[in-house]
């Protein structure tokens, strides 16, 4: 009997050991990986090494970010958990703005990465001061009657000289949203040298000196130039009154009268339309890549837009023709993306190394607004490092026509 008991206990103990040892202890434990990011100035820039420059690593899925500065050899070292990261660099000198971007880099092992900076001159100029694209919610309604007609963009003269708006173009890049990768990228996933515009594209039709924009002042371009709060066709929960907008994106003469023309607000000229039947000049509530651009010297914008050489169909798409703008004619461009993490870039990193978005999401009544860099003699100088991540504030209450009085 004792032997039976002993045998039973022995077998039972061995069985328990076997069961417990069957667990998979060979699973690896989460660790941090050493990432060395080497920052290099662009070719031709010989003013020292890229040392003491801040590099920011942002986990594109969680939004958490950490920064490190480059050492004397231009290397910034990070200790990162596994994830998908974007590395951004922004540096401003007296003469240049440097930007670098390495996006959607998978980190699951120790790695050495390299970022070559792009340089752009610090010369001031036209910039987007505020973009309100999210739309607003109609009180007590279902999703089908959410309101998006109150969108606007505000363009600011960030320089200390008069800038004429004549023959300057305005629109948004294709794809309309950042939800999917852009088919316009080349085989190396780099944007091409010409950027496609979707929907309605406009320009300020003038003789060259018709529309001066004074230094440190702005214009507001409204989708519909009405008081959206009080107008019977508006939305009482809209945050904006655009009845005094400087310009309106009227397209009723293109789409058989589907768009209303707000009296008293001048209309911008339609330059091109990929969808002439669209009932309004709507730029996506999920985040458009807004752009203002110029035209080659001496070229009539209307002629430019009808020249087949400046039109292209979408790779893998249908016969719709998109107006293509050369990269070097971009005056300012802002990469607004979807708040839900789908951040496929459409804008070349040398034009905008970052991105911005409305964290509150669609129909939240919020805007993105450029940060104030300085206040000089009561006039605002907005921050412009060609990096929307660094240059813009998210989830702002729209303030058309109003400029902050303090530095952000």
């Amino acid at each position: 009997m004792k032997r039976t008991l002993f045998n039973f206990l022995f077998i039972a103990a061995i069985s328990l050991l076997v069961f417990s040892s069957c667990s998979d202890d060979d699973e690896k434990v989460a660790v941090r990986y050493t990432i060395d990011v080497t920052v290099q100035y662009p070719d031709g820039y010989t003013d020292g090494s890229a040392s003491d420059i801040e590099v920011k690593a942002t986990n594109t899925q969680t939004g958490t970010s950490v920064s490190a500065k480059t050492n004397a050899n231009g290397v910034a070292q990070f200790s990162l958990a596994s994830g998908v990261y974007s590395f951004t660099v922004a540096q401003e000198t007296e003469d240049f703005v440097f930007n670098g971007l390495l996006e959607n880099t998978t980190i699951a092992e120790d790695k050495s990465l390299s970022i070559t900076l792009h340089a752009s001159a610090v010369s001031g100029g036209l910039v987007f001061k505020e973009i309100y694209y999210s739309g607003s919610r109609v009180p007590g309604s279902s999703s089908s009657s959410s309101y998006f007609h109150d969108s606007f963009t505000e363009i600011y003269n960030n320089s200390d000289e008069i800038i004429y708006l004549d023959n300057i173009g305005f629109g948004a890049l294709d794809p309309a949203t950042s939800n999917t990768p852009s088919p316009w990228m080349d085989e190396n996933s780099y944007p091409q040298d010409r950027l496609p515009l979707y929907g309605y594209t406009f320009y300020f039709k003038g003789s060259g000196t018709d529309y001066p924009l004074q230094p440190r002042t702005s214009i507001v371009i409204a989708m519909d130039g009405i008081d959206h709060k009080d107008d019977p066709a508006g939305n009482p929960d809209s945050p904006v009154n655009l009845g005094n907008a400087d310009w309106e994106l009227y397209v009723g003469h293109i789409n058989d009268g589907k768009d209303a023309d707000a009296p008293g607000v001048p209309n911008m000229e339609v330059l091109h339309a990929t969808q002439p039947t669209a009932f309004d000049a709507l730029y996506s509530v999920f985040g458009p890549a807004m752009v203002i651009f110029s035209f080659p010297e001496g070229v009539d914008p209307a002629v430019f837009a009808t020249d087949a050489a400046n039109l292209s169909t979408k790779p893998g798409g249908n016969t719709t023709e998109y107006l293509m703008i050369p990269k070097d004619h971009i005056i300012d461009i802002v990469e607004c993306v979807n708040h839900d993490g789908r951040h496929n870039k459409r804008v070349p990193a040398d034009l905008d190394a970052g991105l911005t978005f409305i964290e509150a999401g669609t129909y939240s009544g919020k805007s993105v607004r450029r940060k104030v860099s300085q206040i000089i003699d009561g006039k605002v100088v907005y921050k412009d490092t060609n990096n929307s991540t660094e240059d813009f504030l998210k989830d702002q209450t729209p303030t058309p026509f109003v400029h902050p009085t303090t530095v952000d």
């Binding site: 009997m1 008991l5 417990s20 667990s23 958990a81 999703s143 669609t362």
Partner: protein, 517 residues
């Protein structure tokens, strides 16, 4: 709210009626039923999981209808502010020839008001991969369970038994983002017992399954909510939008071995146990799922139960030790788009991100003096030590604590005129935090989730309860029954004074109307 299948409810009622019919007796010799709650006192093997225990039980049955209400601010962050609900349950034992049957069914509905950070129903208590939103609302829950077992002694030495359980439930919230949750847990446990001389050797193995489906939608289609895919200690992987879905699947396998002996009114059962439990969760579309964490748990237990019967007094002492190491595996994934423009999640790394080690040691002693099938008086005490050590990697977030809880209990039954019996039970206890350590620096929800939960888990508190039960024997037709009515209250008062708690309490009041056959 989705209702539990009517078939399940009808099945339960049918079991009830059959059991009642099976218990009908003639009036020739009335044997009044004894206190049903004393069954585990009289039958020590009912305190282990081996279903052979049912082979030693004679006919008995209990039906009860219960109602309870809970409120108070001393609660886990994911518990409701207050809750109330009702439950009907029936269970009983029946011997047919050499076969001993056990069956049980319960169905309950409840309303949980002000519940936040909790959109799951039945994952394991240690599973860190939970789904939540910060809006919350009022939830309506339905829960049912069906239990069955059969056991039989083949001969004087060998007894076998098999037990099965099926537990299901649903939960619904009418507040955007409104959750609809369906869950089920089931198990099968066969066991054997071999007796020789004064000794007995037992073994049982258990197989369990678990599945849960969670859907969250918004009536306002343009709403944008944040969905927290928790990873442990308040850390989370975010998702946003106006809808979200998750699916859990789990399997558990384990077993126990028992060594028993009995002699001269003494009985002892020594048990070793092991259980392996794995739960996996996935979010989003089934054709392009996002892996939201695998939970793996090993549970080791050793316990000894000793019983001594002298005259009508039964002493029962129990020592137990449990060690439960767990880990959570996280999958690092990224969206990829194939040539057909279909988006899917691609895993590029997986690692153990969450670890927890739970140790528990318990000592319990109870004395019961029986008289005419009821506890004339009883008293006892319990001391429980618990230690948990959880960490989140690679950020090295940490939560470690140990507590000691001591409880005393007492019971007395008074015989009143007209065959009424009044039973009074009281218990009082105190929990003391022995040690605590937390490092949540870097967790976005540290102040909103991690610290409030940590404070709740490590709080010192006083606890006590009172319960009064009035029994009355009655003949229901020809069926002798013991009808009872219970009213009780449990109260816990914490000594916490923090930014999140100000000496909070939690109170539960309940009443039960039952009948034992």
């Amino acid at each position: 709210m989705k209702f539990i299948s009517g078939k399940i409810i009808i099945t339960g009622i049918a079991c009830l009626l059959l059991s009642v019919a099976g218990h009908a007796r003639t009036n020739d010799s009335v044997a009044w039923p004894v206190d049903y709650s004393l069954l585990p006192v009289r039958h020590l093997w009912l305190r282990v999981e081996n279903p052979v225990a049912y082979a030693g039980i004679g006919d008995a049955m209990d039906i009860r209808l219960a109602y309870g209400h809970t409120s108070g601010s001393y609660k886990h962050l994911s518990d409701p502010e207050n809750a109330h609900g009702g439950k009907v349950s029936v269970e009983g034992f029946k011997q047919v020839g050499r076969l001993h049957f056990f069956g049980g069914f319960s169905y309950g509905i409840s309303t949980l008001n002000g519940q936040k950070w909790n959109n799951v129903l039945m994952p394991s208590p240690g599973n860190p991969y939970l789904l939540a939103d910060s809006i919350g609302g009022d939830y309506n829950n339905e829960l049912f369970d069906i239990r069955g077992a059969v056991a039989s002694a083949i001969n004087d030495q060998l007894t076998w038994g098999i037990a099965a359980t099926y537990k299901g439930g649903s939960s619904a919230d009418e507040n955007d983002p409104r959750a609809l949750i369906d869950a089920v847990r089931y198990s099968l446990r066969p066991g054997i017992l071999y007796r020789f001389s004064r000794f007995s050797l037992g073994a049982d193995i258990g197989m369990e399954g678990y599945a849960e489906k969670i859907g969250m939608d918004s009536y306002q289609g343009t709403s944008n909510f944040v969905f927290f895919q928790f990873q442990g200690l308040g850390n989370y992987f975010p998702d946003s939008g106006n809808s979200h879905s998750r699916r859990y699947k789990g399997k558990a396998f384990g077993g126990n071995i028992q060594v028993g002996w009995e002699r001269s009114g003494m009985e002892n059962i020594f048990q070793l146990g092991y259980k392996n439990n794995v739960e996996k969760s996935e979010d989003g579309a089934t054709f392009a799922p996002f892996k939201s964490g695998d939970y793996k748990e090993n549970s080791y237990s050793v316990s000894d139960i000793f019983s001594l019967k002298r005259n009508e007094v039964i002493h029962i002492a129990r020592l137990s030790f449990d060690y439960i190491p767990t880990k959570g595996i996280w999958y690092d994934q990224q969206r990829v788009t194939d040539t057909n423009n279909q988006t899917a999640w691609e895993v590029f790394n997986q690692s153990v991100q969450y670890r927890n080690r739970v140790s528990r040691a318990t000592a319990d002693y109870g004395l019961t003096k029986e008289k005419d099938g009821f506890a004339d008086y009883a008293f006892g005490g319990n001391v429980a030590f618990e230690q948990q050590d959880a960490s989140f990697l690679p950020e090295t977030y940490r939560q470690k604590y140990s507590t000691l809880t001591a409880t005393l209990r007492g019971e007395k039954t008074f015989r009143l005129p007209n065959m009424f019996l009044l039973g009074l039970k009281a218990n009082a206890g105190y929990r003391k935090k022995l040690s605590s350590e937390a490092d949540f620096n870097g967790i976005a929800l540290a102040g909103k989730w991690s610290y409030p939960v940590f404070e709740y888990l490590t709080s010192d508190y006083y606890t006590g309860g009172l319960r009064a039960t009035l029994h009355k024997p009655a003949l229901l037709g020809k069926l002798p029954a013991m009808v009872y009515l219970t009213a009780g209250i449990n109260y816990t008062k914490s000594t916490l004074t923090t930014a999140n708690f100000n000496e909070p309490h939690r109170i539960t009041a309940f009443s039960v109307l039952g009948c034992t056959f």
